[in-house]
């Protein structure tokens, strides 16, 4: 538990779920989310950039080999479910997978460790897992949503897209129903995308916090299985987010 020693369990939990903020009202920034997500993303991109710069078609080094493994994995997924040509979709999928995975991975760091270190520096609220912040998951899913709209219009044209909204699935005589269904369908995509990731990671983090409430000698009995299970969860969630993005974007590319 942190240096100040919260009075009771619920205070401890609430303390752990409070962001480090700056600003007021809507213009509030979650500094911890911004900081960790940016640092992790930049770290990954830095490594990738090094690998890309030194990329050789000869015998690859260890870093290049690892990055190529990821790229090959993502590329296979994209080719399997996206039948078209796009400069954007594969790099987008790679970015999502690696970034989400790294942010999820922060969940495996002991829940009290980084807040404790931050406490020494005078920072008293810190949430280290950016994907437990709805702002982040929605930021990603809304960006994907905007790309979906953009590509729908780009590929099918504004008229084609409008037709799809108005005349599917029941033909032109059921126009309002069509529109309603379609709007719900389209908005369900980013919302489910964001909430799924958020929900999984939030629940995971909460359980880690609850486990941290146990006496120190008993923590490993639950903490170890949950952490091992969580390795699967964080990878799976990153994969699902990437996969669904590919599927949604490929749907945006297809004429119905």
């Amino acid at each position: 538990m942190s240096a100040e020693g919260p009075a009771n369990a619920s205070e401890y939990i609430i303390h752990h779920l409070t962001n480090l903020t700056a600003g007021e009202g809507f213009w509030t920034f979650h500094l911890d989310t911004l900081f960790f997500s940016f640092t992790l993303g930049a770290f990954a991109l830095f490594l990738f950039r090094i690998a890309a710069k030194n990329a050789t078609s000869g015998v690859p080094g260890k870093l290049q080999n690892f990055v190529e493994l990821l790229i090959d994995f993502v590329d296979t997924q994209v080719k399997d479910s996206f039948h078209g040509r796009s400069e954007l979709i594969a790099p987008l999928a790679l970015t999502i997978f690696v970034w989400v995975f790294l942010m999820n991975f922060m969940d495996l760091i002991p829940v009290d460790l980084l807040p404790l270190v931050a406490g020494w520096g005078g920072v008293h609220n810190l949430r280290v897992v950016p994907t437990t912040d709805l702002n982040l998951t929605f930021a990603m899913s809304i960006t994907v949503f905007l790309l979906m709209i953009f590509y729908s219009i780009k590929i099918k044209g504004a008229v084609g897209f409008a037709k799809e909204l108005l005349f599917h699935p029941f033909g032109k005589w059921m126009l309002p129903v069509n529109l309603l269904l379609k709007v719900v369908e389209e908005f369900a995509k980013p919302i489910s995308l964001a909430l799924r990731l958020f929900g999984n990671l939030y629940a995971g983090e909460l359980i880690f916090i609850l486990i941290a409430l146990l006496p120190w000698w008993a923590q490993f009995t639950l903490g170890l299985p949950w952490a091992i299970f969580h390795i699967l969860v964080i990878t799976l969630q990153a994969f699902i987010f990437m996969m669904l993005t590919i599927v949604y974007l490929s749907m945006a590319h297809e004429d119905q």
Binding site: S57, P91, T95
Partner: protein
Amino acid sequence: MNINATLLGQMITFGLFIWFTMKFVWPLLITAMAERESKIADGLAAAERGHHEKELAEERAKQLLHETKDKAREMIAQSQKRADEIVDAAKDEARHEGERLKIAARAEIDQEITQAKESLRKEVVSIALVGAEQVLLREVDAAAHEEVLSKLVEQF
């Protein structure tokens, strides 16, 4: 938990990350991978081709060896034949030469025989003359019988 401006910040960050990956990471690596893939494919194809060529070359070498053996055998037979011919010709020539030498020797011998006969005859005549002289010196006057004697000599 509430939605706030963090959302915008994250969207900007996300957008930048996507842009960076798309611009500076993905193309380079995917190109290198594609190149390596084609290199490996080329290498495999080349190996296959090399294997095939080796088989062909072996076939050709076998054939060449066979042909060369045939040719060598032919050449040996030819040279044998030629050698036989040369030996035969030499034998012929030797026989001719021998005969020629024999004829020449015979001619020489005949000539010498003739010469010997001639000189013998002359010697016999002179011996006869000397004998006759001795006889005649006692009974015949040389001058008186000159005519008869010269006629005798002439008769020989």
